[in-house]
């Protein structure tokens, strides 16, 4: 199985701080990959490297390569905005714009110059996150009127409307109640047939419930990467065993 994303000797520094240290990692298509590790491990940095969001932080510098579908994402002819269309992202805190539900979805399409079948695309994206039947007759209502869980699903729909190849999700459930969390977790299971998901989960239990593959980082170093089943039943590294059993003492 050839990897969708190939990260080689990838290093990120924020000023003099080493955030990711020479990471070699493959991510596979149509899988949910969880990136786990203690605070400051480099999880969000790794996620943001995949759509070059780290570059928005002025003091960041990088070495090494990331290939998406065999193409270097830092190549001279790659437009970061176009890359972010292919590699969408959602965040910990649902962040709908202070506009209508419809506008929240139409916005991404318009900045990427997509002006055909806008309504059909919006319907499809809302259907995929299970919100269409709920919101079809009130698309003109302010997005921030929705519950937090529905706002997060709307933000996922906003990323999906651009049909990304990869969806990056940084702790998408950490602010949600258990019911909304369960809904989003089921959504991941459904979404991976069409896209590839890289997720920073908010707990180890969520990792084991939803992820096909898991990557453990600590202080910017890759400790172990592999199938979640293997990492949670017979990890190869003692540090992985210690982390998944809650005995990571560093």
């Amino acid at each position: 199985m050839s990897a969708l994303v190939e990260m080689r000797a990838f290093t990120v520094r924020y000023g003099s701080t080493l955030a990711l240290d020479s990471i070699d990692l493959d991510l596979h298509a149509h899988r949910v990959t969880a990136v786990i590790g203690p605070a400051g491990a480099g999880k969000s940095t790794l996620l943001r490297a995949l759509n070059r969001m780290n570059e928005l932080v002025a003091v960041s510098s990088r070495e090494g390569t990331i290939r998406l579908g065999g193409v270097d994402i830092h190549g001279g002819d790659i437009d970061p905005l176009a890359l972010r269309r292919r590699v969408g992202m959602t965040f910990e805190r649902p962040n709908p714009f202070p506009r209508s539900i419809f506008d929240n979805l139409a916005w991404g399409l318009s900045i990427h110059g997509v002006d055909d079948h806008v309504e059909a695309r919006i319907e499809q994206a809302l259907t995929r996150v299970g919100l269409w039947s709920l919101l079809a007759d009130r698309l003109d209502r302010p997005a921030r009127e929705l519950s937090l869980g529905d706002q997060q699903r709307l933000c996922i729909a906003r990323a999906l409307v651009l049909e990304p190849e990869i969806l990056l999700m940084d702790e998408p459930c950490s602010r949600l109640d258990p019911t909304s969390t369960a809904r989003i977790e089921d959504l991941l299971f459904d979404l991976k047939t069409a896209t590839t998901i890289v997720l920073v989960p908010h707990s180890l239990r969520q990792t084991s419930r939803v992820a096909d593959d898991t990557v453990l980082l600590d202080a910017g170093t890759l400790i172990e990467a592999g199938s979640t089943e293997e990492m949670f039943t017979r990890p190869r590294r003692a540090r992985t065993e210690a982390f998944v059993t809650g005995r990571f003492d560093v």
Partner: protein, 219 residues
């Protein structure tokens, strides 16, 4: 129910059923080998036991995966625990089918002696018990599980009758003793299979309502 957990539980159910049908098939073939004196069938059963063993390990890994990844609770947890125990029991049924086949090979190599009709009847009961216990597991069918529990008493009393019968024959025909001892083993293996089907039925009761009924007299 969470979709991914559900998906893994369905997979486990299929694996258990597959193992169940493999040992059922092995039992049928071993009994047919004995009745029709077909050496090649008996060999097939003995050689096939390695495949049964490999499936048992696969099911155990599936259970381990579900426990590690989903930390199931309540009915889901009881199902996985029951599946692990049923898995062991089915593997043991596979071993007994293999033992039956080995006894068949010995008896085929010797001049034929009549097979007591009770052995045929007992084999029919054991096959039905195995089938019913697996159906009870898959369909969470308590009534069927209890039917299996009651059927075990019948198998036990048949085994006792066969024992008495074969003992009498041994006295009458001492030159047939070796073959009759092998025949007695056949009856004992069948009786053990019925015990394992009973274990499965008990696990079904535990799975459905959390009640442990092992070590209780049936009534």
């Amino acid at each position: 129910m969470p979709k991914r957990l559900n998906h893994h539980l369905e997979q486990l159910k299929k694996e258990i059923l597959l193992l169940g049908s493999m040992v059922e098939d092995a039992t049928n073939k071993a009994l047919l080998a004995l009745a029709d004196r077909r050496h090649e069938l008996a060999t097939e059963v003995i050689e096939g036991d390695a495949v049964v063993d490999a499936r048992e390990i696969a099911v155990e890994e599936e259970c381990l995966k579900i426990l590690a990844l989903h930390q199931p609770v309540a009915a889901d947890l009881r199902f996985v625990i029951a599946a692990m125990k049923v898995n062991n029991d089915l593997e043991r049924v596979g071993d007994l089918a293999s033992n039956l086949a080995a006894r068949a090979i010995y008896l085929i190599s010797e001049p034929p002696i009549p097979i007591p009709v009770e052995i045929d009847e007992m084999a029919d009961s054991v096959r039905a018990m195995l089938r019913d216990s697996l159906n009870a597991l898959v369909n969470r069918d308590l009534q069927l599980a209890h039917k299996v529990l009651h059927a075990d008493e019948d198998v036990d009393s048949r085994h006792k009758r066969i024992y008495d019968l074969l003992q009498a024959r041994m006295r009458e025909q001492p030159d047939h003793i070796e073959r009759l001892v092998q025949m007695l083993s056949v009856s004992r293996y069948l009786e053990r299979m019925a015990d394992l089907a009973t274990n499965i039925a008990e696990d079904v009761v535990f799975m459905v309502n959390g009640e442990v009924i092992r070590h209780r007299p049936t009534g």
